[in-house]
Amino acid sequence: MALAESGRRVLVVSTDPAHSLGDALGCRLGPRPRPVPVRRGTLRAVELDADAALARWLGQRRDALATIALRGTYLDREDVERFLSLSLPGTDELIGLLELARLARASPLDEVVVDTAPTGHTLRLLQMPETLRQIASVLDDMQAKHRFLSRSLGGRYRADSADALIAEIEQESSEILALLRDAERTTFSWVMLPEALSLEESRDALAGLQRSGIGVGEIVVNRVTPAPPGPCALCEGRRRSEARILAETARALGPLPMRVVAARDEEPEGVGSLRTFARALVGPPGRPRPAPSAGSARKRVPAVATRRSPRALAEPWWLSDLMPPSRRLLVFGGKGGVGKTTAAVTAALALAEGSGGRVLVLSADPAHSLGDALSVRLGDDERAVPGASARLRARELDADRALAAARARYRGAVDQLFDALRGSSNLDPAFDRAVMQDLIALAPPGIDELFALAAVTEALTQQGNSRAPSTVVLDTAPTGHALRLLALPDAAREWIQALLSVLLKYRQVVGLGQLAQELVDMSKQLRALEELLRDPARTAFVAVARPADLPRRETARLLDELDAMGIPVAGLLVNAITPPGCARCRRAAAREEKHVRALARRFLTRAGRPMILAPMTAPEPRGVRALRDWGRTWRRFDPAGRP
């Protein structure tokens, strides 16, 4: 908005599947650019619809794609059509950059501002030029045999629409990559909160961006607590903890300019209040302000009463609500930065200390925070957590590693297959071999969801393993991708069924073998998982929100989507409720109460599922003991009383 009002033509695009851009601008947006009223310049805004964009992209290229597949594989038209009509798990990332480029070209613009999905999936989005290049390479391999045959039959080869498509995809890939890496044309503003988990995530992400050759122009630290109007233990505690984070940020993210934006009483919403907000965002960024003197009061602020909680203490009240004995899977989800991970791991700790069986807390967000929340190093294996119950294991899923392992498995199998086929003959099916090898090198979009699903299934279906968890607590990526994960079993089963049909069709030629057996097993597991996800006795979703406008709206949409998918919701946790403090804290608490009541009107329509209020603390709870204490301060929202 500020760019537009400096006299430029600006397009602002949201690529997050859970859009908040329209909420922030205070207007309804869609997949076509809509004008936003500004004083100078022009501003148009778009919320991408990845499925529709992919359908359009495929629609225009379907014939060429089908031609390539028919030439380069042994599938017939019916098979090819069937595969082309299936949905893809990672659509948002795959098509996001292409659609962005298309919109940017469609009209004369000076600037395109992109509002991305939360960290993990934005990094995936930025890997897409490479994926596109790989797709072009596979298509080219398929086409190579046709070119060779044409040449050997008819002499000269004339390129056709199939070659044009391959060239187009290749060119898009290299143009987008060049644009992303060109610091003159592209700049990345990294937005974070002055919180420990946010800093850790930023550190990892900026290293990832650097590896991809994408430059970050500045760091924006948002919602920094201003000085309180009077003495206030909470505000001062937060300022101390934030000052430490700011200093650490300056040290860790080094030479990058840093812009510190003060928290506002009310979240900016609509063009008017965004204009005021913009003043904090334009102009030269500064260095972080000096930390308020740590001085005398260095003790942890007792926003949470820090009484020691011996293990013998009764289990927290909410545990039996969220975790009846039949429950096998508890999924935590919500908007980025609301405290999903902290809440999920608190629940997992309490559960493991309860009377149930083994508990696995699994993070499926490619930008993991689980280890940071627990203050331990975690990895892709299930690890014990020092200080927690021995029944607890924690794991941060590494989809890249899982993919590499799968790839290695397939690569060996393919080489073996082709060597076996070649036998004593010196005729090598070189074209087919090349197609297979390039296909294996292709990193498919949506791998985080695919492997998360596999990990959950694997954890819950281990039989005869005494160490197998009886319950999985799943910490998901923010809203849009959590929903994508939950929708994946259906999509994956369609793919498997298409493959089973093809295998049955050609079984006289190739036999069924190990592949068919694996597909049958996967199909059965997916069926079981679909049933599990929709069974309120065994599965429940816990939505996590903050008592503010944008998170409240996103939560309402999340709850609608979960209802539509038939996924049971066991609870709503509203995090970071301001406890009594200074006059400003009291004003904040009053505003929060409105949001809490609005959420309650939406959520408490069904009996038997609690709405939980969790207090803001300074600093945020980290480590087993702090999390355990924090979990004991969660309160049940009582519609009749004060929230």
Binding site: L75, M436, V502, L503, Q508, V509, V520
Partner: protein, 116 residues
Amino acid sequence: MVILIDSLIVGGVRFVLDKVVQAVDKELSDDTVLREELLAAQMRRELGEITEGEFARTEADLLARIRDIRERNRAPAPPPGEMRIAGVEATFTGEEHEESAGEAHESEGADHRRRR
């Protein structure tokens, strides 16, 4: 990706169709044929082409026949090094097939026999 790979494995293999058939023929025992039938039935169940009941009947029948073959294979423990005996067994089970060749699922098994 898995999907594409798999569909292309199908393609790649078909490219050398004859070689595959020869190789498969050489290594197949009739037990393998029955196992493939069982797998095919599982696939049809996953695709919803046959009901649970139909699957259960097919499965029971196939498992009984696999057990038969196994028992027969185990009984006359062949002296080591006598490779010819394997050939005799194959002929045996081939005949067993002829008896029940009326079933629809058996067509592929019958194909293999004819080639042999």
